[in-house]
């Protein structure tokens, strides 16, 4: 006698999500063990875009690694530029002029907004909404045009230099940025909140889905909007300030709901906070050079150096070992998305498949940064 299907609860099957799947945003493979529609086990598999960037750093000079940094997190490339510049400046004891620091903050924050806009667009695309992507890309295009004016590239920037930045910003950039701040603020309530945030379909899809407890965040080392959506107020810009961030008045948005909606709201509020930082930086922008005095050939003293920056996805640490030569002896990156992805398997257990994908979108994964 055959057992009726409804009674066979022990039967599971394996579904291979990725490595080529639109919902995984890159080449991430997740081995899902499913019981019907429910996830029993989710196991992320990495390594499909591993390019050994950290090893490549050892083969070149300090400056030659700068273009590589942008190719790890291509959505917030300037923060990776900034992180590398900071750790090398710390090692070599290079002073950065104040104007250059302000320009760094302005461009990094613009890039952060662009990154959040792209996340927002791609996340809603995962949930099945196509229209918001077009509105978000319209705004993102404005940022990219602005950054192209000063950096020369549109996505993989190589803008920071040890001791300053590559190029000064001009009046047109400042006027364009002020216009953009006004534009995004005027579009935010209608195109972002009325159309999407208050939409009942979105709320039903992501509210109370993907609960990450603060304890889990601490155990896996999750940072960025993932931790801040779980009620942990941790942001490198406030907790371990670097550059000129202490001079600005801005808040760290924290939500206690721990669900995907909380992470969504954190990012939406962060865009507004970034706009506030840019506004203040433009008002206070000092005159002066954008490049400080830096030796042509860098030979930092032997030793261990560490510095951290806050990217759009969390805290990024650069650990640099120098042996007194003109090449780095060893470089190790602590990238935020790796930790954020690590908790996926534990949290996705027991979810429905569609919810597990919505949850994955809310983590804001950038695979090349995990694999490096």
């Amino acid at each position: 006698m055959t057992v009726p299907i409804s009674l066979r609860h022990d039967e599971t099957f394996v579904l291979n999500l990725g490595p080529q799947h639109p919902a995984t945003h890159g080449v991430l493979r997740v081995i899902l063990t499913l019981d019907g529609e429910y996830v029993v086990k989710a196991e992320p598999v990495l390594g499909y875009v591993h390019r050994m960037h950290e090893k490549l750093a050892e083969g070149g000079t300090f400056a030659q690694f700068m273009p590589n940094t942008a190719r790890m997190d291509y959505l917030h490339a300037l923060a990776f530029n900034h992180g590398w510049a900071l750790v090398v400046e710390k090692a070599a004891g290079i002073e950065v002029p104040e104007r250059a620091e302000y320009i760094r903050v302005i461009t990094v924050e613009l890039n952060r907004i662009a990154s959040h806009l792209l996340w927002w667009a791609a996340f809603l695309l995962d949930l099945g909404g196509f229209t918001p992507l077009l509105y978000a890309f319209d705004d993102r295009e404005k940022i990219i045009d602005l950054l192209e004016r000063v950096t020369g590239s549109r996505l993989t920037y190589c803008y920071m230099r040890f001791g300053g930045v590559y190029n000064d910003i001009d009046d047109e950039f400042i006027a364009g940025t002020r216009d953009f701040i006004k534009r995004l603020r005027s579009r935010m309530p209608r195109f972002y909140h009325d159309l999407v945030t208050h939409n009942i379909i979105l709320i039903k899809r992501i509210k109370d889905i993907g609960i990450i407890t603060p304890e889990q965040c601490r155990r896996y080392g999750a940072t960025g909007p993932v931790a801040r959506g779980s009620g942990i107020s941790y942001d490198i810009r406030k907790n371990e300030p670097y550059s000129v961030y202490p001079e600005f008045d801005f808040d760290i948005p924290v939500f206690d709901e721990c669900d995907s909606m909380a992470r969504y709201m954190v990012r939406m509020h962060e865009m507004e906070q970034s706009l506030r930082i840019i506004e203040q930086a433009l008002d206070k922008l000092p005159d002066g050079p954008v490049m400080g005095k830096a030796p042509k050939v860098l030979k930092p003293e032997a030793g261990y150096y560490y510095s951290a920056v806050e990217t759009a996805r969390g805290s990024l640490g650069h650990r640099l070992v120098c042996d007194g030569g003109k090449n780095p002896y060893k470089v190790k990156l602590r990238s935020p998305t790796f930790s954020n992805l690590s908790l996926y398997g534990e949290v996705a257990e027991g979810m429905m498949l569609a919810d597990a994908l919505a949850f994955m979108g809310s983590l804001d994964l950038v695979i090349p940064e995990i694999d490096r």
């Binding site: 400056a63 030659q64 192209e148 020369g152 590559y166």
Partner: protein
């Protein structure tokens, strides 16, 4: 039962709100750049592949074959050769070949920045699609000669 009716109410409200926003946008002018009918405006800093700068008078490249660009390049895509200058009163070196392997180039700009002799700049080329890999192994010396021929 209460939740049922309120769900229908809020659901239709969000539906109408969304439709109103998209419908209003539908009649606004398009924001997409209509390439190839519209050509993009280039910023002064636009990074195309690099090219040699010819001397304003002679048209010969400003390059003195110091090799700094070659050493600055993180991707080893520049190879250049030179020979000793010939003729009376000539000193230094003359460029005999300058080949850029654009397949490896990441347009970081290290070469242009490292040049102390105003011999390198970014071109404004962006229509660079090709089926042949050899199209991206560029002889920049030939390029500067072609530019000179066009000028005259």
């Amino acid at each position: 039962m209460n939740g049922y009716w309120s769900d229908i109410f809020t659901g239709s409200k969000s539906l109408v709100t969304g439709l109103l926003i998209t419908a209003r946008e539908f009649f606004k002018p398009v924001v997409t750049e209509q390439y190839p009918y519209e050509v993009p405006t280039m910023t002064p800093l636009f990074r195309g592949h690099i090219e040699l700068i010819g001397n304003e008078e002679t048209g010969q490249p400003n390059c003195v074959v110091c090799g700094l660009c070659q050493r600055a390049c993180p991707s080893i895509c520049i190879s250049l050769e030179g020979k000793k200058a010939e003729g009376e009163g000539a000193k230094g070196k003359v460029l005999t070949s300058y080949v850029l392997d654009f397949t490896k180039c990441s347009l970081c700009g290290s070469c242009v920045e490292s040049c102390n002799f105003n011999a390198l700049r970014f071109s404004k080329e962006y229509n660079l699609a090709s089926f042949d890999k050899n199209d991206f192994i560029m002889d920049l010396l030939k390029r500067v000669e072609d530019q000179n021929r066009c000028k005259h």
